[in-house]
Amino acid sequence: MASGWAERDDHELLAHVQSGGHDAFGALVRRHTERFYRLAYRYVQHKETAEDIVQDAFLKLWEDPGKWRPERNSKFTTWFYRIVVNLCLDWRKKKRPVALDEERPLPDERETQDAAMIRAQEQKILEREIAALPERQRTALNLCFDQDLSNQEAADVMGLNLKALQSLIMRAKTTLKERMQAYL
């Protein structure tokens, strides 16, 4: 029976969660944890904090599954992205962002040491410049480039129309191009 949950779509699982189905909740969590963690990580740049945020978001859903209204939200992920983004923004308001650990570059065994160092430097500058962007521009970039959402999906998550989202992305890219000229 447990294997059957993985094949069901999000809406079906949520209907079961709303009637107390813990197995359905488990299937939903296993399906989406990675992508929401990745989004949270982009905001907080800290593994444990990102994990805590994702855990909080899912536990809120479990505690109060009535918050999910299928008639109001077309897609579970669109709705849940919003919840995760809001939790990340709340976290940022309360605490200062954690800087990327310079002594511990993120590993990639395919690259030589020099290339890895240059890449790590580029990444560090990029993260710093993204962090300096206005909140909405940053969210638009994270959703479109990191989560691979279509512009329309990202616009839905942010509650914007398509043109407004495209404008945010264009402004963000222009700023980044200017600030990262030396690295491009």
Binding site: V29, E122, L126
Partner: protein, 103 residues
């Protein structure tokens, strides 16, 4: 030139690295949820039932008998307290009249 910059930037944006989550993150969330009770949405009738259940008396006959005994005991123990004291009434009345005189 600008296009090349744009392409390089997009490439950088798409290849941003991140520290992978702990492999047991999903399982931890699922386990933690097991210890948290769910707030199920309740209907008005369910709410009413719950409200009445709060006032449910496990042994109503005993409660009624105890209340009656307590009531009689209190009634017999202080029967004179309820009789009005005339002296007090006079004092109160004179006080009230005295207050009205300046008007």
């Amino acid at each position: 030139m600008s296009d090349t910059h744009g392409e390089k930037l997009e490439e950088l944006l798409r290849s941003r690295r991140f520290e992978p989550a702990s492999p047991d993150l999903a399982e931890r969330i699922v386990l933690k949820a097991q210890s948290i009770p769910q707030n199920q949405p309740i209907s008005l009738t369910q709410w009413m039932k719950q409200l009445f259940a709060e006032f449910h008396l496990p042994k109503p006959a005993y409660v009624l008998a105890c209340t009656l005994i307590l009531g009689f005991a209190v009634g017999f123990y202080r029967p004179l307290d309820t009789i009005p004291d005339d002296a007090d009434n006079i004092h109160v009345q004179s006080f009230l009249y005295a207050d009205e005189e300046p008007l």
